[in-house]
């Protein structure tokens, strides 16, 4: 299978975030960046499919400034064959513009499957994958937590709100990957060495004039400090009283 995996580079989700001096971005000083978790599941799923159904090719794509090259190398160290950077000056919040750049690049690529994470930790919008599928005019399955590909068809499981949906679709298709589907492998030393020699192509991304721009970023107001009502079973009556008379939720 020829599989494309579209990656995003995001900071470690456990980081403490500060706002940059510009007021419209986070301060990246000291933050550790990596392949976004969901995209790393997508890489793993792609590699597993191509290991089972050889011969195949797995190609990683990322839209962004040169910092994404490190992310693409990481994917190649996991086993991705080659990578393409669609270069921009800075990250953008215009998800449709990113989808257009990716779709223009993927269109002639002859991919059977295009994978994305179901969303990325930073914006959690989940726009780019589905919009790319629409622009390519192919089937799109979002949030797949199980995936099987056999004889030109795919079957996926999607965990929805209290319901699981099993869907069937024909290839080519875009699938966005949920967690729980596969545990991403760690790059081996051999993989890291090999990745240095794998091709990483850089092309300008055609983003056009962005129509979604960041006007500002701020930290959310803290919750008022919590209070301990008491200890053990003895505190239950007071808790119930507060839930009734103060919080009015009982």
């Amino acid at each position: 299978m020829k599989i494309a995996v579209c990656l995003k580079r995001t900071p470690d989700s456990e980081s403490r975030f500060r706002i940059a001096g510009s007021g419209s971005a986070i301060d990246e000083t000291g933050l550790k960046f990596d392949i976004d978790d969901f995209a790393s599941y997508a890489v793993e799923v792609a590699l597993q499919i191509n290991e089972k159904q050889a011969p195949g090719e797995t190609v990683a794509f990322a839209v962004g400034p040169d910092a994404v090259q490190e992310t693409l190398r990481k994917a190649m160290s996991m086993g991705v064959d080659r990578a393409v950077q669609l270069k921009t000056d800075a990250p953008t919040y215009d998800g449709l513009a990113i989808a257009k750049a990716l779709a223009a690049e993927l269109k002639a690529g002859g991919f059977d499957l295009v994978f994305f994470g179901k969303h990325a930790f930073d914006t959690s919008g989940g726009i780019v994958g589905t919009a790319t599928a629409e622009l390519l005019g192919v089937a799109c399955v979002t949030s797949a937590s199980k995936l099987e590909i056999a004889s030109g068809k795919g079957t996926a499981r999607r965990e929805l709100e209290g319901v699981a949906e099993i869907v069937e679709f024909s290839l080519p298709a875009v699938v966005t990957i949920d967690e729980g589907i596969a545990r991403p492998r760690y790059p081996s030393l051999k993989g890291i060495m090999a990745a240095k020699k794998k091709p990483l192509e850089t092309k300008p991304a055609q983003l056009g004039q962005p129509r979604v721009t960041v006007k500002g970023m701020s930290l959310p107001p803290d919750r008022p400090p919590g209070r301990i009502v008491g200890e053990g079973v003895a505190a239950v009556p007071e808790l119930v009283r507060l839930l009734r008379s103060e919080a009015k939720v009982l």
Partner: protein, 329 residues
């Protein structure tokens, strides 16, 4: 101001709470900008006209019903085509959907079909001249981004729970709409729906959530969480990632950064220490109660009310007390 088109989400032909939230949000937005109409579109197998009263109650002026047996489930391609075709017919400033499972799928499709700027998971919307300005929590709710969207028509998905359901009753006009593509000829075909359990309240809809963590010590002790939820009567049961990874509860119950993000009226955290990934999924709840044996647990920093103690003793006592409080009315 011009009109707003809302996708009024249904499941099994019935409107979901998020439909009322998006209709209410659209009503508030047009009213704050000199008035305009709210058009609510539902894609249902049949009986669309019967939804008009409920949608009118929350501020819809026009209810557009697309009926086809293929809309028994969310038919992604036909719904997107139908909403986009209507949006293209003109006169709309924005298309609003919920940032629910359906809306997450729908909003980017609409943006691509309409070539319209899109923002997801928004918690505030205002019109500023020729732009639409929204707030969108990012980095697992640790940062709030203010985004400006420039275009005559924009697509927005609203965060469930962020917009209050309001009543601004009116008699909605019903207009029937032909599906813009055949919902039974989709590229993606739903083969099966597995219900999470009959009568179960979804985490996104429940006014009360009782969630359990590793402090419960063993899967069988989740019964205590279920009992407490049952005592409230209107509660759903959630879990931490540690618990779903252990297989004590299904993954669909997971609340947190990589699971569901919820904001109920009341969130009761049972034996949950409050890892940052968990807090990311529930810290916007209105009232938070925490029961945990470790008084240093981070959950107590966000909990409005905390009890330090053994959950195996405190929770049954609380269940009994809630039952009594409910019984006394």
């Amino acid at each position: 101001m011009p009109n707003i088109l809302v996708f009024a989400e249904t499941r099994g032909g019935a409107l979901r709470k998020v439909a009322f939230e998006t209709v209410s949000a659209a009503r508030a937005l047009v009213d704050a900008n000199g008035g305009g109409q709210v058009h609510a579109l539902c894609a249902v197998p049949s009986g669309g006209a019967g939804l008009a009263e409920q949608l009118g109650k929350h501020g819809a002026d026009v209810v557009l019903t697309a009926e086809n047996p293929g809309f028994a489930n969310y038919a992604r391609e036909a719904v997107a085509a139908t909403v986009a075709a209507r949006a293209k017919s003109g006169g709309y400033r924005a298309v609003l959907v919920s940032f629910s499972a359906q809306g997450r799928d729908l909003a980017p499709r609409l943006a691509a079909k309409l070539d319209a700027p899109v923002a997801a998971d928004v918690t505030e919307i205002r019109i500023a001249g020729d732009s639409v300005v929204v707030k969108h929590p990012v980095y697992a709710n640790k940062v709030i981004a203010t985004l400006q969207l420039d275009g005559p028509l924009v697509v927005l998905s609203t965060r469930p729970g962020a917009f209050p359901v309001t009543e601004t009753p009116r008699t909605a006009t019903v207009e029937s709409l032909a599906p813009a593509s055949d919902p039974s000829a989709e590229k993606v075909v739903v083969k099966e729906m597995q219900e999470g359990g009959k009568g179960k309240i979804d985490l996104g809809e429940a006014p009360v959530i009782v969630a359990g963590g590793r402090g419960l010590k063993a899967p069988e002790n989740f019964k205590l969480v279920e009992d407490l939820a049952a005592a409230f009567g209107n509660a759903a049961v959630g879990a931490t990632r540690a618990v779903t990874d252990e297989g004590w509860r299904p993954h669909s119950d997971q609340i947190g950064q990589t699971g569901r993000q919820v904001s109920p009226q009341l969130y009761v955290a049972v034996g949950i220490s409050g890892a940052i990934q968990h807090l990311a999924g529930m810290r916007s709840s209105k009232t938070i109660v925490a029961i945990n044996k470790d008084k240093e647990a981070p959950i107590f920093k966000v909990a409005d009310y905390g009890i330090v103690g053994d959950v195996l003793e405190v929770v049954p006592a609380l269940t009994q007390a809630v039952r009594e409080a409910k019984a006394s009315g």
